[in-house]
């Protein structure tokens, strides 16, 4: 009984003292990070990396839970409906910012139902073509596409994925139609391009770089604003003929909308500390990823800008996935 009273008092004190005290106590139990993508994918791998590194400073375990399905919507909706206490977090990617305009009819809205926590990293994509295609550069590819509109196909791992929108963005900038051939998953799309069934694709740089080195595909450009550390001899698409082009895959962490500000601050500073480490940068660079570090305000701005960018691309391309 005595113990109960003490606990009640402590609870009351917490409420009175407000978020400051709460943040010091946070996290007092294991935290769940929901990854709305399949186990083993890049999002899952970086989520686990982050979870492991967060364990040390917070003395709590960060449990990764994979809830894939319906292009990330199932897992994301789960987090949107979870209590906003900082013990359920969402691992997001730009699939989420793309979905804001591509899938308007979904049970949540990113900036309404979630509070930004921190970005993690971004990875470049690699624009590859089958070696049988005569084009040796982005400029030649653009010329070929212009000479036969709708004559070229590009593969993607599915509708609404960053790979798909990277292609749509490319099309909208060069102003030529290239047919989108969606697949069920990256591996099937990759097989199609390697076998020449489909001519070109924007794909994850880590998987495609070794295949390009072995001559299975030809790398024409990377999609970042600067060259990738993985393929320093391959130009960016922007410098090779499509100025202004940028389409990366980036990952970040979000929390349910009403999560206390202090918890968000605490998580942001812990995650930023990890992404700022030199050894983390080195490991990630080897895998083709570049760490991102932003405070809460910067990340929110970044998210809004990204949503706006993809809204524009979706509008121009006519790509839609609503009902």
């Amino acid at each position: 009984m005595m113990q109960f009273a003490v606990r009640m008092a402590a609870g009351a004190a917490c409420c009175v003292a407000g978020a400051g005290v709460f943040a010091q106590a946070y996290p007092s139990k294991p935290v769940r990070i929901v990854v709305p993508f399949a186990a083993g994918g890049p999002a899952d791998i970086y989520a686990r990396f982050l979870g492991q590194r967060l364990q040390e400073p917070t003395a709590q375990s960060f449990v990764i839970e994979n809830r894939p399905g319906a292009g990330s919507i199932i897992g994301t909706d789960l987090v949107a409906k979870s209590p906003a206490d900082g013990y359920t977090l969402l691992l997001m990617s730009n699939t989420h910012t793309i979905n804001e305009s591509l899938v308007p009819k979904k049970p949540f809205a990113l900036m309404r139902d979630f509070a930004p926590v921190a970005p993690i990293n971004y990875s470049d994509l690699l624009l590859v073509v089958h070696p049988s295609l005569p084009t040796k550069s982005v400029k030649e590819l653009v010329a070929l596409a212009k000479s036969k509109p709708k004559g070229l196909n590009y593969a993607s791992s599915g509708n609404g994925t960053p790979y798909h929108l990277a292609g749509e963005y490319f099309k909208s900038l060069i102003g030529v139609d290239i047919i989108h051939v969606p697949h069920k998953g990256s591996s099937e799309a990759r097989t199609s391009v390697m076998s020449g069934q489909v001519e070109m694709m924007f794909d994850a740089i880590t998987t495609m770089a070794p295949l390009a080195k072995a001559g299975r595909v030809r790398a024409l450009g990377t999609t970042g604003t600067k060259r990738s550390t993985v393929t320093p001899d391959v130009p960016t698409v922007a410098e090779a003929g499509v100025p202004g082009y940028e389409a990366t895959i980036w990952l970040g962490v979000m929390a349910p909308a009403k999560t206390p500000r202090a918890v968000l601050e605490k998580l942001n500073s812990e995650i930023t500390r990890i992404t700022g480490r030199a050894d983390v940068r080195k490991t990630w660079n080897e895998q083709g990823a570049e760490p991102l570090s932003m405070n809460l305000g910067e990340f929110e701005k970044y998210l809004n800008a990204d949503i706006a960018k993809w809204t524009q691309v979706v509008k121009v391309s006519g790509a839609r996935a609503d009902q």
Binding site: A39, G40, R48, G69, A70, V181, S186, L211, R216, D322
Partner: protein, 508 residues
């Protein structure tokens, strides 16, 4: 050749280290158990275990996972045979004749032949993988969406041979399956179809909850609704192993199943699921006594079980030659080693020979371990049937719900399973065969996607299907099969088709 042999020796030197051997054993054991858990198939099994391997070294991780993979392929047949509960999609066909054998007190031979068939097919598969990988991988890469479409069309035609029931009933059930397969996000346009605002339905209806519901739950309901229980006969110990005749009957199906499964397995994508359906269709078609199928023909167990194991091995061929995954299962395997900073790619084998050949050798080892593990357990499994239904069936129901839920942590899947159980119960009462539903559900999304991919590639021209040699050959074969199956309908005066002479199986 000599090089391959040397590499394999290197592989065995890795795979036979006590620590690795232990993990192979653990993997096989977990896999067998996972395979028996209704609903949890190989893919779900290794995906769930994947995070647990992140702390292990890459060789151990891949040996453990391939053990689980193999084990699950073996284990899936056990529940299909004993209680008509498909552990995974590939064992749907095993349910039919395997369970019929159980009801005749021949559960032992069915289990034993499934294990032997799996072992033979698995071992042949690894041999083929080692010797023919580079050649076959080139073949695999020529398999694009148009070829896939042709293959799946052929798969649909197999329907004609799948059941002993009336053709209209079979078609009705296949149509039901195809319609179920239409639910979910359309991969080409991104539109959501028939999801009725249920987000989980946007992902489509999985084969697992449907198969477990249609086959397993409906069986439980049927048994419970009977006044006098028809208990399966308790076999004596001598009856646990297949007889000489049964072994002889199984040689052909095992060989054909291995070959068919292996070839289908090589094709990138998820085609391996249909290997057991096609094997069953072939066995029934060429059998001199097709009326035995559905009533406990051992060929109906031996063929599909061999086919699905050979297909499992075949799926590794593109991965071996190209170093990248081409199917969901191999993708998870590759992920397990990527976590350790090993990049997949065509150079994988050259850069990581221990890893690669250790993995191949561990497949040989795994097959042997599984045979040793499974054959002596046949007796144990069969004695599970001695548990009174009043205790056994509630347990099975609980396991079904548990297994179904754990695949994707989705309650909606559990409801689908239960609903399908009710649907299956009613359909069986009315004498409908349920296997075509499963085949339709598996084929519909794949067929639709590959057809529309082909048409996107050709800018809408159907000529793409006749411009490509592999596709033409398969379409031709399909047309031939269709004609042969139409023959008895067109020439009624001829000797009656067996279909009209055998009635439907009485729902048990």
């Amino acid at each position: 050749m000599l090089e391959t042999f040397n590499s394999l020796l290197l592989g065995f030197s890795v795979a036979l280290q006590p620590q690795i051997l232990m993990y192979a054993f653990i993997g096989c054991l977990i896999g067998t158990l996972v395979g028996m858990l209704p609903g949890v198939g190989p893919l779900a099994g290794i995906s769930m275990l994947l995070p647990a391997t992140f702390g292990l070294n890459p060789i151990v991780a891949i040996v453990l996972l391939s053990g689980v993979y193999y084990g699950a392929m073996y284990g899936g047949s056990t529940t299909s045979i004993l209680i008509r509960l498909p552990g995974e999609a590939a064992s749907v066909m095993t349910c039919i004749d395997g369970y019929a054998m159980t009801q005749q007190g021949r559960a032992g031979p069915a289990l034993a032949i499934a294990a032997i068939g799996s072992f033979v097919a698995g071992t042949l598969g690894v041999l083929g993988l080692m010797l023919l990988a580079p050649t076959l991988a080139t073949f695999a890469l020529r398999f694009g969406p148009p070829e896939y479409t042709a293959l799946l069309l052929m798969g649909l035609l197999v329907l004609a041979y799948m059941t002993g029931g009336s053709i209209p009933k079979t078609l009705a059930m296949a149509g039901f399956g195809l319609m179920l397969g239409m639910i979910g996000i359309d991969a080409m346009s991104g539109y959501t179809r028939f999801s009725f605002e249920v987000i989980e339905l946007a992902d489509g209806i999985g084969i697992v909850p449907v198969a477990v519901g249609l086959f397993g739950i409906s069986e439980i309901l049927l048994t419970a609704s009977q006044h006098s229980l028809k208990l399966p006969k308790n076999p004596s110990l001598r009856e646990l192993m297949p007889s000489r005749t049964e072994l002889k009957q199984s040689i052909g199906p095992i060989a054909r199943g291995s070959a068919v499964g292996f070839l289908i397995g090589i094709i990138p994508g998820s085609a391996h699921i249909i290997s057991s359906f096609i094997s069953y269709g072939i066995e029934r078609r060429i059998s001199k006594t097709p009326e035995r199928f559905g009533n406990g023909a051992i060929e109906g167990v031996a063929g599909p079980e061999s086919a699905n194991n050979a297909a499992a091995t075949g799926a590794f061929i593109p991965m071996m030659a190209l170093g990248i995954p081409t199917s969901p299962v191999t993708a998870v395997m590759i992920a397990a080693i990527m976590v350790h900073g090993i990049a997949p790619g065509p150079m994988l084998i050259a850069q990581q020979p221990e890893l690669f050949w250790g993995f191949v050798a561990s497949m040989y080892v795994g097959n042997v371990v599984l045979l040793i593990l499974n054959l002596p357990m046949v007796g144990l499994f069969v004695s599970l049937l001695r548990i009174p239904y009043a205790y056994l069936y509630p347990c099975i129901l609980a396991f079904c719900i548990l297994g179904c839920y754990s695949v994707s942590n989705s309650v909606v899947d559990v409801w689908i399973m239960l609903a399908m159980g009710g649907v299956g119960y009613v359909l069986r009462k009315f004498g409908f065969d349920l296997a075509p539903v499963a085949l339709g559900l598996v084929l519909a999304p794949m067929l639709e996607l590959s057809l529309r991919q082909s048409l996107a590639m050709s800018a809408g021209s159907y000529a793409i299907f006749i411009e490509r040699p592999i596709a033409v050959v398969m379409l031709g074969l399909g047309a031939l099969m269709l004609l042969i199956s139409l023959k008895p309908l067109l020439f009624k005066s001829q000797k009656k088709d067996w279909r009209s002479t055998v009635g439907l199986d009485e729902p048990s």
